[in-house]
Symmetry: C2
Subunit: 216 residues, 2 copies
């Protein structure tokens, strides 16, 4: 049994839902509300499961009950333990290119723009909404422009040729997040094309924030 601690709007949790769906793995979802009760991820019962105090967290009972935090660690684990269908290409250079693009999103775009950081900007630093929005757009545009260039190697195909995988599981949630902040995406035609193909697939449709049990 796989259990995913998740929040409907978390980009990182969304990545894992896509990956689980792409592999056709059944899982139980436990919602962790990132805002209610001062953030349920800070509650002692959740911190006992995941001291990092973030979502997602995957618990694999068959895997000795291992508790895995960090969305990309979960994607790597799923690809090792449930290898078919694969999320990553076969050859190391291609795997590296996919991971580098996914990590650019996961390390250099998303963490600067997630809820806890935006809360710190407003709360601790007294940054007004306009400057906070400019901060958001600065990092997301910067990051997406680099990913757009990086996608050139795929020549209009998905990261696994006809199939999406690791890269798309990271990209689609980032685009969803960018739209929430009214970021104009028209400068990134390769991203939009990749997104459109993914959105046709059930694995992505069923992972979307709005259709999660805890969506509001």
């Amino acid at each position: 049994m796989l259990t995913l601690y998740s929040y409907w709007r978390s980009s990182a949790a969304y990545r894992v839902r896509i990956a689980l769906n792409l592999k056709g793995l059944a899982y139980r979802q436990v919602p962790v509300h990132l805002v209610k009760d001062g953030g349920q991820q800070h509650a002692s019962d959740y911190l006992a499961l995941n001291p990092q105090g973030l979502v997602p967290l995957l618990v694999d009972e068959e895997g000795g009950g291992v508790h895995i935090s960090q969305s990309l660690a979960i994607l790597e684990y799923l690809d090792e333990v449930f290898p078919v269908p694969a999320l990553l290409p076969v050859e190391p250079p291609q795997r590296a290119l996919v991971r580098a693009l996914a990590l650019h999103i996961a390390c250099d775009v998303h963490p600067l723009n997630n809820l806890r950081v935006l809360q710190y900007l407003s709360g601790e630093l007294g940054v007004d909404d306009e400057a906070k929005n400019a901060w958001y757009l600065h990092w997301v545009r910067n990051g997406l422009a680099a990913v757009e260039q990086g996608l050139a190697v795929f020549g209009g195909r998905l990261s696994l040729g006809q199939r999406p995988g690791y890269l798309e599981a990271c990209l689609i949630p980032q685009l969803y997040n960018a739209r929430r902040f009214a970021c104009d995406l028209s400068a990134y035609p390769r991203l939009l094309d990749m997104e459109a193909r993914c959105q046709d697939l059930e694995a992505f449709q069923q992972a979307a924030p709005e259709v999660q049990p805890d969506a509001q």
Copy 2:
């Protein structure tokens, strides 16, 4: 031939130097100065190599000339192409635990505190030095406290038992960075113990910022 585009003080480049040394791989180092000339990582000749405009970048001539950005993508590549000695444990649950701790540093601590973000806080947002320092310490303490708890599973050993690997390659540069910002580390005895063992090893000594050819 392996070529590493690096900056002596970059935590992410430092991770890769450690990994290359742990594997005993020879490499040529090309310095990219992150401050001089308005940041050489923004120059068009560097962006042509790495559109992400960040260090490190690894070029592997034997691997078809692949250009790999993102330190963790490089570590994964090195472990796939030069598997002995390994950087990651063998079993998926243990690999996942190591990756989750490394990713917590690489995604949720370091990107908030690297040079470009601190420059944005001062320059664009007009944040004063005291508040900028408080920002730094907030994220680093938060992150290191979680890693400290996460290390409990190793029972005082290194991530590969008697040997360091992927986890230590991420942790030691983060501790170096924290010291630069005068962060008191005494609350993290497991981190300090792990660091002390690593600092005894040539692979770490020779990766240290101060002994790099571009150190100032």
